[in-house]
Symmetry: C2
Subunit: 343 residues, 2 copies
């Protein structure tokens, strides 16, 4: 299961058994960079398989998750999502009302974020060949009209190497910002599925972030963005650290976490920083833009709990956190997300 | 199962329970046209879920099928496929050699047709939550550099309404051409899966057709194209008839069928015209171009058995076939493909 769980085991599996078989191509952002989306001929292109269980959960469902996940993967590259595709694999005998509810949610989420579903495919397999349903969304986008401005603001502070907001673009001194509380989606889903009861205090954060991200690009100064899904913040920052070749220093007290998430994670023995989120973005920006970006994030409902959580620090090649009690802890790349089938 | 089987039941299901929930958008080729691909902002975009069973079969496997299916859906619009995405849903415990074999096949097929896989996603679910593996490919393409020439050749004969090779573009008198023998894929797969033994005489035809189709566009005069997958030729022609508002008259003796396919279908009581193909294209063209297109098809290894099988005929709103023994038979839209899980 860890091969698909978004952590270090998965990166290793993808490189050895997936990417190695595929012909290499030259591109702004190729497959081998394993970034959120690829860029081909100016088109930003991404795909996501959704196997969340159960299909409906507090704060969302497989439909809203599918739209938000793909819209976010396009947006964090610095692109404007244009359109989505939707492939359904349905189990024979699945209640038609379930299909209607999921498609209704896809339609509403699509309308809300202004990104239409333009093409699709539906397969029905015999009972037992799939667990209820799988939804695979792909998305296409084009360079945001605000990305050049965003990069020019960053370039006023230092040389920026990438034309897109890629994982390898973080440099010493860059500020690390998260757009809100972490761990809500994974904890809520796990609790609801297993009947732990925490889901009354914390709901999934699933949301399309294209509007919020466009606001950040208008301010300018961002150099990398990522939605911390499988493997959570720990995975995002370790990917950046590894691909950019720079360490990071975080302040634990600045990392926004709901009390209910902290309590649930304590009880369950899991790390809130390694749990997947579905409506959050992590932003690396040049230091001079951090306060402006924080301000614009906080003025948006989806970014009201945004916080600067630390800085890229060349002194170390690792992701380190100063704890609230005064010590230091290395944030290791997670082996995999501690909660299976949350997306 | 018929809801996903590519026939009339599926069209009805898609309209009522899928498309109805999604916001409408204006586009050259929107979702609501249920064509092979959508066209958004000049980008041709499509997706396909693959649940074929077994994963490996005579003549192909789920990997070659995934690449060919998506490349063909882009190409039949009159577009050049640029890139593919690949989402894998893997069952926990699946032999890693199976993943390597499938990815190797994806890589080879991708290289053969010159369309790279640029982005992907991999999910692993617990044993029993998916039957071995599902592969969902999406593809993007751009208008072929030969499509304007192709349409101008057709326009010399009559007014052409669509800028793309869409299902609603067939008119009275147009010739209907198939690129080769029909039913090979479905019969071979069914026979292999059920142990009937016909697969020694007939293999799957799975193949990417972008090269063959580009040759046709260079000749010019095509007005519609479709790869006759689920529901086979019967589904393709009934979709054209219904969307274009024109009847068709076919000659049974001109429809290329392998003896082994005819014999297998007779024994199994299924119609070879309703079985899915994975390496064939059906072309409607202006009558003056039919012989030229036939010639260029036959000069290509994937089109050597091409044949003109009939004409669009305004005299009837239905698809009719003159049988070899002198009678007439209505080719009904299939309820669904008679063979499940062939793609």
């Amino acid at each position: 299961m860890n091969h698909g769980a978004g952590g270090e085991t998965m990166q290793d599996f993808l490189s050895k058994h997936i990417v190695s078989h595929l012909p290499r191509m030259s591109s702004d952002v190729p497959l081998s960079s394993l970034d959120d989306s690829a860029v081909v001929d100016g088109i930003v292109f991404t795909t996501d398989g959704h196997t969340v269980k159960p299909l409906f959960f507090p704060g969302g469902d497989i439909g809203s998750l599918s739209v938000a996940g793909t819209v976010n993967d396009i947006s964090v590259m610095g692109a404007r999502p244009l359109a989505l595709s939707c492939a359904l694999i349905l189990e024979e005998g699945l209640d038609i009302n379930v299909v209607d509810r999921v498609m209704g949610s896809i339609g509403r989420t699509s309308e809300m974020c202004g990104v239409p579903v333009v093409t699709g495919d539906t397969k029905v397999v015999e009972s037992g060949a799939v667990d209820n349903m799988v939804v695979v969304t792909s998305g296409i986008g084009k360079r945001s009209e605000y990305l050049d401005h965003n990069i020019s603001v960053a370039s006023a502070h230092r040389k920026v190497d990438s034309r897109w907001l890629t994982d390898d673009n973080v440099r010493d001194g860059d500020a690390i910002i998260v757009s809100g509380t972490l761990g809500d989606h994974g904890v809520s889903l796990l609790s609801f599925r297993e009947g732990y009861g925490f889901e009354s205090a914390v709901q999934s954060d699933v949301a399309p972030l294209n509007g919020l991200i466009e606001n950040v690009l208008k301010v300018g100064g961002a150099v990398a963005m990522k939605d911390p899904t499988r493997g959570g913040l720990a995975n995002t920052l370790n990917e950046w650290s590894s691909k950019s070749g720079v360490g990071m220093m975080l302040e634990e007290r600045d990392i926004p976490l709901k009390d209910a998430v902290v309590n649930a994670c304590d009880l369950l023995g899991i790390d809130p920083l390694s749990i997947g989120n579905e409506g959050k973005v992590v932003i690396a920006c040049v230091p001079g833009s951090a306060e402006d970006i924080l301000k614009v994030l906080r003025s948006h409902p989806l970014g009201k709990d945004a916080s600067i959580i630390g800085y890229a620090a060349s002194g170390t090649k690792r992701v380190t956190m100063r704890t609230s009690v005064g010590g230091k802890r290395i944030i290791e790349p997670p082996i995999g997300d501690p909660v299976p089938r949350i997306c």
